[in-house]
Symmetry: C2
Subunit: 150 residues, 2 copies
DNA sequence: GGACAATAGTCCTTGTTAGAACTATTTTCC
DNA sequence: GGAAAATAGTTCTAACAAGGACTATTGTCC
């Protein structure tokens, strides 16, 4: 019974996200970054930097992965680590001047690249979509919680 | 101008998909498979097997990655390779008897696990969501094509 | 019918991913 | 104020991911 209901929604969700990823990733790679690297640079843009912990929770990149991504960005001179003044365990990550330059060069153009697709939906369609996606997300998060509690 | 329009939709899409992935992956891993392995087993279930090429295009796993995933499933005895009778270059992948058993044990229960989340949306909400996701996907695919053509 | 382009899989490299073990620091609480 | 719990990052392992080089076949077309 559940199959006929569940599969089409999940399939469209997965296909739509994968279409987004394919378009987005291809554009990002053309600009010389990997998708997680772009995510980090975009998150750090227009901020004074932030702790690993916060950067990870904003980008949904787990700490073990984040170390490596930040290492590669640091090796390219786009970000730097600094000791936190408040907490000796914590490390602040921030864009270098070169990182700021890349951010400016890459962030808005990427949104501009995606805009035509999003704007092809009518205004009310975008609002609908946002609302339904939020509902489904909340329901899925509840399933995760229930699984974790078992 | 584009930023205020584009970001919220993309954010909800990404968050919803990631919530799906988190829930789905956690459940799949509990059943002893990785997500790509589940994808392969689910795709091969109720079929006589198929070529690498087709399996890759159905699961959106690229050939280089697929070799490794199939290797690991074969090592666990869930799938097997067979020469194609039609084309000497082609290899057929199919479930073993054990793979069929795992498919039956894992596929429907996974849908049943996801069902409560999807069914928390009203019927009309699901239809709406599917429609909007399809529209957005088509527009995103167009962006990919336009990028590739440049 | 034989050179030559196209195709199917494998292998390799670089990067991402989660999660667990580990170290160093901080917080909590008796 | 000191032991114990919690927390922040790093390191490690196994797996996935894309894409390009490579091998073996098959198809094409003069």
């Amino acid at each position: 019974m559940s199959r006929a209901t569940v599969v089409p929604v999940i399939r469209e969700l997965a296909r739509c996200y994968q279409a987004f990823e394919r378009a987005s990733d291809a554009h990002i790679r053309r600009m010389g970054l990997t998708p997680p690297q772009f995510d980090i640079v975009a998150t750090l843009g227009n901020t004074p930097g932030m702790a690993f912990k916060e950067l990870g929770s904003r980008t949904l990149i787990t700490k073990g992965t984040l170390t490596g991504v930040v290492d590669r960005l640091a090796a390219r001179g786009l970000v730097e680590r600094a000791a936190s003044p408040d907490d000796g365990r914590s490390t602040i990550v921030r864009l270098t001047a070169e990182g700021e330059r890349v951010f400016r060069e890459v962030f808005e153009p990427h949104l501009a690249f995606l805009a035509p697709a999003v704007e092809s939906l009518p205004e009310c369609g975008r609002k609908d979509l946002e609302k339904r996606l939020r509902q489904l997300r909340e329901a899925l998060e509840k399933r995760s919680d229930e699984l974790a509690r078992q």
